[in-house]
Each structure stands twice: as structure tokens, then as C-alpha cells.
């Protein structure tokens, strides 16, 4: 059976699916819009779960394996839910030689997580990036989407400690 583009209704009532549908519509449900659509899903839901991947696959008329393959190829996409707060430590060259390793160690010491992990209380996720483009201010960290420059291990420790305590 050949599905009509856009023929598959969203998996549930969640309004955010409409935004995703918007992206698919804008690209005429063509398969080359896959990466753009995955960006939208991740923006809306924070990560790409299996339900979303399958729905996107059917709507763009792509094999699930292909969608899964793309979602796992690119570092920017994550298949796991993230913590309430994220802390992205830049490990680009400039940041590396100005001490990004010490920053990661500081987070590991405070939240008991290594890059790619989320703390047990789901408060903090630690990620790394290959250059966030603020090398002039190395070492740089992105705290909840905001870039901070010339970060010290003390500063990052304090920030993470605050996040860890906040159970709200």
C-alpha cells in the first residue's frame, strides 16, 4: 500500500506534533527533509524517541532503518531524554589547551556523570561539543543554551551544585 504523504496522524494528542507536521509540510513531505524534521522533533521534545522516529519514517515514506541510521549518525541528535539542565563543555582545540578537561572533571566530581550521561536525579546532563565558536573566550561552556566564556572549574562546580540541589 502506498501511503499518501502526511496521511499518518500523530501518535497522540500532544500539540507539539503539529509543529513537526508543519516542517514536513513546508518541505512537501519529501524524503530529503528528514534531517530538518528530526531537528524540529528534537527541538519540540528534547530528544528523538522510537515513536517519533517511526512516525516520521511513515510520513516521509522512508524505511525506519534509514531514519534510525540518520538519527544515530549525527552527534547533535540524541535518543535519550536529557536532564532538566544541560551543561555542554566545549572540547575544541582552543578550549582543550585552556583546560576543558578540568571542567569536565569538575562536573564528574559534583554530579557523578561522565560526558553523555544524566545525573541520577535527572537534574543535570553533561555533554561535550567540538567548538561552539567562542574560542576567543576559551574555555567555553554552554549552560542551558547560554554560552559562557573563560569558565573556571570553581564556576562550573558551583553551577552544577546548584542545579543538583534544586529538586523542583
Amino acid at each position: 500500500m502506498q501511503l499518501k504523504p502526511g496521511a499518518v496522524p500523530p501518535p497522540n494528542e500532544d500539540k507539539r506534533w503539529r509543529i513537526v507536521e508543519g516542517t514536513m509540510r513546508r518541505h512537501g513531505h519529501q524524503s530529503h527533509a528528514l534531517i530538518e524534521v528530526l531537528h524540529t522533533v528534537q527541538e519540540c521534545f528534547g530528544y528523538l524517541d522510537d515513536v517519533a522516529l517511526r512516525w516520521v519514517a511513515r510520513n516521509l515514506r522512508l524505511p525506519y532503518s534509514k531514519v534510525y541510521g540518520v538519527a544515530t549518525f549525527y552527534h547533535f541528535f540524541t535518543l535519550k531524554p536529557q536532564g532538566k539542565h544541560t551543561c555542554v563543555v566545549c572540547t575544541g582545540t582552543a578550549c582543550y589547551i585552556k583546560g576543558s578537561t578540568a571542567l569536565i572533571n569538575a562536573v564528574t566530581a559534583k554530579a557523578k556523570i561522565t560526558p553523555g550521561e544524566t545525573s541520577d536525579n535527572k537534574q543535570v546532563s553533561l555533554l561535550t561539543a567540538r567548538c561552539v565558536g567562542s574560542c576567543g573566550l576559551a574555555p567555553a561552556v554552554v549552560f542551558d543554551g547560554e554560552v559562557a566564556g573563560k569558565v573556571t572549574p570553581e564556576q562550573i562546580s558551583k553551577r552544577v551544585e546548584g542545579w543538583m540541589r534544586n529538586d523542583a
Partner: protein, 566 residues
Amino acid sequence: MTLDELRELAETEREKQTQVKHEIHVCTAAACLSQRSDQVKASLEAEIKAHGKEDCCKVKGVGCMGLCAAGPLVSDESNGRLYQNVRPADENTDTKEIVASLESEPVERLSLSPELPFFKEQKKIVLENSGKIDPERIEDYICAGGYEALLTALTEMRPLEVIEQITKSGLRGRGGAGYPTGLKWSTVAKASPHNGAKYVICNGDEGDPGAFMDRSVLESDPQRVLEGMAIAAYAVGANRGFIYVRAEYPLAIKRLKIAIKQAETMGLLGANIADTTFSFKIELRLGAGAFVCGEETALIASVEGKRGNPRPRPPYPAQEGLWNAPTLINNVETFANVAPIIRNGGAWYAAIGTEKSKGTKVFALAGRVANTGLIEIPMGMPLRHVIYQLGGGIPDNRRFKAAQTGGPSGGCIPEEYLDMPVDYESLASVGSIMGSGGLIVMDETSCMPDVAKYFMDFCCTESCGKCIPCRVGTVHMHNLLSRITAGEATPEDLALLERLCDVVRNTSLCGLGQSAPNPVATTLKYFRKEYIDHIHHKRCTAGVCEGLARPGKDDKPKGKPAEVTA
């Protein structure tokens, strides 16, 4: 919009600006924004209002002024004053003092001399508008002469004449390999369309860690890139273009979206530009964090919505690219050079730089150097001059050790070559490359085997895995380097590492694998002593490698010394 209408608009805009006595510029590019420059701007505005000076003073958010490390930067265009590290009103009185002193002596505490070699010795072509115009207003760009080149090309030049000027300019691709731009354009122009289509792609992936030139150009002067792409499309006969930008650059994406919309509204992009038969539409595509997607064939796969696996070339994208159609793919900075070349002529551009490397190059100066930020210099400037004059030298009285250019595809240049001119050939002659323009300065606190390990870690995690030499070879090299930096390696390991450099370089499919051994090979060549120290004496002079002895600090090396053979 016609050329006359464009000029009229520029004139009106210019007049409007001369009525403002003090035009205060606040840098709102990424690095300064991360230091809260948006709040600096808001508090300057509030202060001006409080003084009732709205009529003669205007605050404008502009792009990167270059010296990002001293940000947020603020300048007063009327008298050339420049202020650094300006804090917003809730932190102290910086913005109050600046506004209060507009007519009197400058605020000394914050002053930064525009006479510094950092500013004086640059030559700005690509960055000529950066820090001068508001990147979110197309009128500002037009006022600075924007879109004149495009409309002139469309109405007064044939496509071949446009290509001729680019060829004459000697411009070479700024994305890394330095391929002659004119030659690439004429190949695409000659190719016959596939299903009636040809495409232009702007490569804004900028995956090199330590590089932020393209980001800065996109954030500071996005219209410039659009104009360059449109001129290119006209020259090669394309009607559709894509800009591929990494998702990690949200501000660049936001400003590009605004820029595309504004250019379309004004009729400078879209159907029948300037009432001619030429139409050109630009779409944005977001990368998703894969370094290999900067490679042109991988990038094309990614625009097609696939995994970013490179494919063998030929066929080159110029013949068979996006959806099998002839595709022109150039770097952001390459496109940013196009409008001025058309405006001033190819000969003008060719008069700048060296014999084989024409024009200027933008570098992201970072690492252990006093003035970190963005610079644009004429090709051929000696490296020493760049680091010590513009860069202000090495802070904390430390010694220069190496300059890393070209990121993971490049190499480390030692002190003995500091007097070398910066151009494609000279850099290649010492085993490094120009690359996209990352220039990272290292001092004695960097350990070279550790730096090599760092780049190899990058390459093996970024390898797409399609071919074995790169997928397996880089992991193996990384393991060997880990053994070396942990003080566990034998002299045989070193020999194996050198052999792997050759194998991976010569048998990998794409540029990632082919150039991955460069950082290892150059550090082995110029800093061999450090490798020997790690292997034979279990010593890390820089004190970076954990568990190894540092001379002068712990005298006794840990572990058993290896047998000395070399």
C-alpha cells in the same frame, strides 16, 4: 529593485546616518553576547534616553569587532573611541560613564586604543562591514554599498565576464584546499544541467575545532554571503542555492533567516531579480554535528537528508553533485570575497597578497596568545608578525612552542619557522595547511604528544567509518598515542605509529582520513624529543600527562625506564 533604486536607497540611508552625531556601536556577535553585550546595549539606550539625547545619539548592535577576548566592545563612530570589557548597568557604572563623557574626555579606565597593531595591521575585505553595520538590517548593508556588485553583474556583465573577473582575482577556496575559485566556477558553468537544474551550495559547516571565521562572517554580515552566492549562481547558471550551517551556531542561523527574508522582500533574491530574467532562491539547511559533513560529497548527501558519508571523486560535484546535478560548492569566506572583487575588479584583488596566494585571509587567533579574536591579514604576512604584533605575544612570560594551523587536517609549526610567510605554499612546505583559518598558539604548557592524541581522538570519533584505513587506523593511532602519553609505550610502538601515518594517509577515501595523520607527523618531525622523553624517560616536560614525571617538579620518573635504543 533596480540599480538606480538601490543607489537611491543607499543615499537616503547615508543622509539619515549623518544626522546622528554619535553613533554608538555595541558588538552583538556571539562572543560578546555571551558576555551580556545585549544588556550593555539596553543600558546604553536607557542612559541616552535618561539624558534626553535620543536625537543626536543612536545605539546600534553590530557584528564582531575582532578583539573578542576584550569584549563586550563598544565604539563611538564619531570620534573613533573604543571601549573594552564594558559591563551592563546592573554590574557597575560603565555605561553611565560612557554616555556622560560623550562630549568630554573618554573614559580612560575602559579605553582601548584603536592604534594597536591588532587593529592597524589588518586589511579588511571580507570583514569590511563587520562591526560597522547592523547584521539584521539590509538597509545598513545597502548603505555600505551592498548589492551593487550583484545588480551591476546582472545588468552589465555576461556570466562569462563575471567568471573572468573571479579568475583574474586569483581567489582560491577558503574552505581548506585552496582550489582556484574561477576554475571551479567555469567547470560548473560549462556543465550541462541535469533535469534542468544546477545548484550553488555554501559550506558553512565549519567543523574545525578552534575555528570561528565563518560563524563570525555569518553573524556579522550575512547579506554579504547571500550576495556572493547570487553572483555565483548567475555566473554558473543556477537558480537554487543552499546554505549548510551547523546547528551549533543558532545566532548565525537566526541572522541568516532574517537576511534571506529581507533580501526577498526587497526583490534582491527570488524571482526576476532587478527586473532581469535571473531568479535565485536560497534555502537554509542545518548540519547536525558531524565533522565529516564539511567534506563536499558528504555535505551533499546530508543536504539530501542522508547520512553524511563521503563518496569517491570523480565525479566531482561540479559535474555531478546535489541530486546528480552540477553543483558549485564554496566556503562562506570564499563567497564573502566575491562582491568586492566584482565591485573593484579582479586586478585590484590580485594586487594584494603573494604571487600564488592572492588577497587576504581571515584567521581565528586563539590559544596562548594575548589578543584572541578574529583577524584579517594580507596573504604573506610572516607568522611571527601575526603572533607577536597583532596577537600581542604570549602571555604570562611564557615561551612560544608551536602554532597549529588547519585543525585536525593541519599541523604544528615550530619556532624555527616563525618567519615564514603565511600563504598556501609555505604552510604546505612545513607539513601543515592553511585550512579554513584556525590559528592556535601553544606555549610550553602544551605537551605535543598529548596534542597529537587530542587530534587523533577527534579524527577517530569523527570518522564516518566507511573505509577501513580511516576507521581502524585512526583508532589504532589513538591507542598508540594514549600509550605514549601514559608512559607505557615502547620504541616499537613509535615505529608502528610512523608506519600507520603513511598507511592512513595514502589509503583513505576522503580528506578526513588522508589528512588525519598530519598533526602526528608534524609533531613527530619537530618535537621528536618529547616523544622520546615520554617513551624512554617516562617524562612529560610540559607537565600535562598524568602520572609522568615533570623535570624540576618531581625528579624521579615513575615506572621502569624503557630500554634506550633510538
